[in-house]
Amino acid sequence: MKKSLIVFLSVFSLQVSAQDSAVHKNSSYLLRGAELQYAGSFGMVSGCALFVPFKKLEKLEVGAGIGYTPPAYGNLWTANLLISCKLFQFKYKKLTFDPIIPGIFVNFNFGKNIYIAWPEQYPANYYWWNSSIRYGPFINSELNYKISDKKSVTYFFRVLTNDLYLYTYLPNTRFIKFSDILVFGTGIKYYFQ
């Protein structure tokens, strides 16, 4: 488990280094800022670096980072990748409000009894799902305050669900309310360019 996390973080850090050098070549895109989130299924606290990977598609934002849940709540780590696309926004002086920003995420969960590959005690396909990898849709609502030409700060509220919750909900729409499978996260983003 620890090995998997180390490998993932190594690959991720290599990607960040590569993108850092790209930033120096053209500072108008790629690494734009960082995000700090409370809850939202990625950890009690999670953080990620924010990128705009395509110069001509400024509305597309990619986040990559890790999350942590302390031992009192399960001692869990996550490695997270998020992609979102801004649709429409309202501006008022230095404020910008994005009411709906849809996105998708995929994350790896690491902890006791959570596996990327099920251990040998189970026959093949004994459990059909991957206990480590979760993915699903999310929607952000964001309020951005422009500090200067390049710098700004955003408060966001995130609503998300995941593959297992949807798989549970879809055959049980009479008993389970859609709101039962939605979870919340909230936090701030800081953009420095």
């Binding site: 990625f42 399960g74 959570i114 008993f175 979870v183």
Partner: protein, 271 residues
Amino acid sequence: MKNNIAVLAFLLTAFSCNKFEYNVYEVDRQVNDPVVKTQYNIDRLLKLPRKDTLHVVFFGDPQRFYDDTEDLVEAVNALPLVDAVFICGDLADFGLNREYYLINQQLKLLKVPFVTVVGNHDCLGNGLEVYEDTYGPVNYSFTWNDVRFVGLNTCGREFNFNGHVPDLNWMQQQVEDSANFEGCIFFSHVGPNNGDFDQALEDGYVKITEEAKNTIFSINGHNHSFAIGQPYDDGIWYLNTSSPSNRVYSYVTIYPYSPDEKKFDCIPVGF
């Protein structure tokens, strides 16, 4: 100042509620619901007046079959004669905190006391810890109307067949004080003749059921379908109770004081 405290209290409550999920595998964040606890329900059972005949519903594996389980609860609540409900494991499918929360919303609607045992799916991820926090110990016993009920964890595969699941020493101890009960019932998730039971412990389990005072039957879930038989040709009845997904539960009538060798009747009931 008062307003500030009220706002702060609101924010703390809102941000600590279970909608702000830390992780799908989180523990110790579930709604602490005293009415689903095993001990609470045993206490309710023990307050019932003493009787010659017990009427008990058994089912297992409600995992992810919430709409079917809702119908089952409604059907059981409409029964004219029912004293208790026993759920033979797999309350969750992925071992997630949120799944236990959802199934508890249904079990709480049962009009009669209910108890559970742990299933293999309940052990996944941090599920075992959530299970114990939610309901109580995975091994427990109690004497109700002179019947010793022994509920135990038999999910050997989840513990890599380590030779300790089920805990045969504990199981043996629960039926040693034979003066204190008339007959006994063993209930669990995985039956001893299933490949997910620790095969090294199968003979030991069967021996305890044979040597215990008046074993009425041993019942488990896991196979999702109803079955009854004597697989070891030793006079001990083994029952497998169905999952709500098959729209069947087991209606068991127990006669603790009957002089007959068979002290129960069991009917699979569709709903």
